[in-house]
């Protein structure tokens, strides 16, 4: 399959049988006291280098999935494997290979200075002082925050805090990044900052991006839709616009640009600028 616009071809990792990094087989999990499983017989495979979007309504099991993958929760039945390790049995092996960025940056930053926060995850890994400094510098650079080492986290904007949290995960150099609604607490500018940094990781890392915002994962290799704890669909982002029924059943709404494009019969447009070009292409003024 020819790469599209210079990017890695969609689904290449999965289709070429690339190294399987995340694997769930028949996974079921219920919260204590709840009669309904939060995750219900879930099968999921993510290969090295893939960028996978995960959509689903509130209560669909998206965040539970993130917690099962990093061993915060233990499956009642079925099997979870991350790079060959069971997260519930060997959480430390898993957490150096899979990092989770959660919604609220305020719950993730603890140290007095940015550099300590970014280094926090390295302290249990037996990394030398020297190497730690290098990794912190590289991670801050990767999120566009070079020079922020001695800043105090509480003085940062929401977008900056979330990028510090992301740097802390990148410093551990995990193979897989799980992003659990990473922008839902951010303002428009913060959201843009974080999304730019995430999109720069494309191809370098394996990414599982959980979100309510369909427009954040229009570039994904494939999109998974969870509902009631089950995987109800798996498709390419372009196919979403042709599945109004599927969207409605899963309480999903296309972002305005895609809805306008669909209503005008103009196909798949990711941004206002793309849509404006498509409209201009229909008319000679």
């Amino acid at each position: 399959m020819a790469p599209e616009g210079g990017r890695p071809a969609r689904g290449e990792g999965a289709r070429s049988g690339g190294l399987l990094l995340v694997c769930c087989e028949g996974v079921t999990y219920s919260y204590p006291g709840s009669s309904r499983p939060a995750i219900d017989r879930l099968d999921l495979r993510v290969s090295a280098g893939e960028y996978v979007g995960v959509l689903g309504p509130n209560g669909s099991g998206k965040s539970t999935l993130a917690r099962l993958l990093n061993g915060l929760l233990r499956a009642d039945s079925g099997r979870v494997l991350v790079a060959g390790y069971d997260p519930a049995e060997e959480p430390w092996e898993v957490r150096r290979r899979l990092g989770v960025l959660f919604q609220n940056p305020d719950n993730q930053l603890l140290a007095p200075f940015v550099e300590d926060d970014v280094a926090f995850g390295l302290e249990n890994l037996g990394v030398s002082r020297e190497e730690m400094r290098g990794r912190v510098r590289a991670a801050l650079e990767a999120v566009g925050l070079s020079g922020f080492e001695r800043r105090e986290p509480h003085t940062l904007s929401g977008g900056e805090k979330q990028r510090v949290a992301l740097a802390g995960i990148l410093a551990v150099e995990p193979e897989v990044l799980v992003l659990d609604e990473p922008t839902s607490m951010l303002d428009a500018a913060g959201r843009r900052e974080v999304l730019e940094r995430i999109s720069a990781l494309r191809g370098e890392r394996t990414v599982v991006h959980i979100t309510h915002h369909l427009d954040e994962i229009l570039d994904a290799d494939r999109v998974l839709i969870l509902n009631g704890g089950r995987l109800v669909a798996e498709l390419a982002p372009e196919e979403l616009v042709r599945e109004p029924e599927l969207l409605r059943e899963n309480r999903l709404v296309l972002p305005p640009v895609l809805r306008l494009a669909a209503a005008l019969g103009l196909g798949f447009c990711r941004t206002p600028e793309e849509l404006a070009r498509a409209i201009a292409g229909q008319r000679v003024w």
């Binding site: 303002d187 428009a188 309510h212 305005p256 409209i279």
Partner: protein, 269 residues
């Protein structure tokens, strides 16, 4: 009820080394029956402004006027009943054993009889379309349901102005649309809503006027059309499409339905 902030300044921790000026001379009115959206980045002062509308925070300088009268002359309890404030992530404040009991908590404290309290609760639950959840524990509900239960608790006070601080943050698109329906219904009854939001696409759909805050100051205030077309870089997707297209004859639509109509006419015309 008309609320007006008059040159309001607010400084957190004044006189200490943690002193932070959060509002620096904000003047604006909330007219009866309008939806006023307040937008701005983190740290722009949006939540601080919201908490001045019922004097949960007191201005360091300037004042709040209620129907032209200084609010300091009013009983605080009375002001807070008439101006209902829903905080960010209000579901964190649910504590009772059932949704019904939680929603009844505030009206009961108004000294209403049990029948009147029951009626208020019934109406508030119906308004938020969660009547079927009345006997459930708030802690067994989904995020969207818990959010609505918390808002019902404020509606049960029968406020004249509803102040919603990021009411849709973290909700799925359907739950967001349902909450916007509530905002519209509230306005239809002649009451006003102050909607604090960073989602410009939702602001585009419901706001009568938009106030842009920036570092504690009012940067822009006007109709959505005036405010968003003056700065399309910080505008909803609809306005960004129109701005990128640059066809003046298509007009300046903001809402989705109006934008679609304008684009159709442009393509057919």
């Amino acid at each position: 009820m008309r609320l007006e902030l008059e040159d309001v300044h607010h400084v957190y921790a004044p006189g200490t080394r943690f002193e932070v000026p959060a509002l620096r001379g904000v003047s604006l009115a909330v007219e009866p029956g309008e939806v006023l959206a307040v937008v701005g980045g983190t740290g722009s002062g949006k939540s601080t402004l919201a908490q001045h509308l019922n004097l949960l925070l007191k201005p360091t300088r300037g004042r709040l006027l209620v129907d032209g009268e200084d609010a300091r002359g009013m009983k605080l309890g009375e002001l807070r009943r008439r101006v209902g404030l829903v905080f960010q992530f209000p579901e964190a404040q649910l504590f009772e054993s059932s949704v019904r009991r939680d929603v009844a908590f505030a009206p009961r404290r108004l000294g209403l009889g049990e029948d009147a309290v029951g009626e208020r609760v019934r109406q508030a639950l119906a308004e938020l379309e969660i009547s079927h959840l009345a006997d459930r524990s708030p802690f067994s509900l989904s995020g969207g349901e818990r959010r609505r239960a918390a808002i019902a608790g404020v509606l049960a006070m029968d406020p004249e102005v509803l102040v919603l601080d990021e009411p849709t943050a973290g909700l799925d698109p359907f739950a967001r649309a349902e909450l916007l329906g509530l905002v519209r219904r509230f306005r239809e009854r002649g009451r006003s809503v102050v909607l604090i939001s960073h989602d410009l696409d939702e602001v585009a759909e419901v706001a009568d006027r938009v106030c842009v805050l920036e570092r504690g100051r009012v940067r822009a205030l006007g109709t959505p059309e005036e405010v968003f077309y003056a700065n399309p870089a910080l505008a909803p997707a609809t306005v960004r499409v129109m701005a990128a297209l640059g066809r003046a004859e298509a007009g300046r639509p903001v809402r989705f339905a109006d934008t679609l109509q304008a684009l159709k006419e442009l393509l057919e015309g």
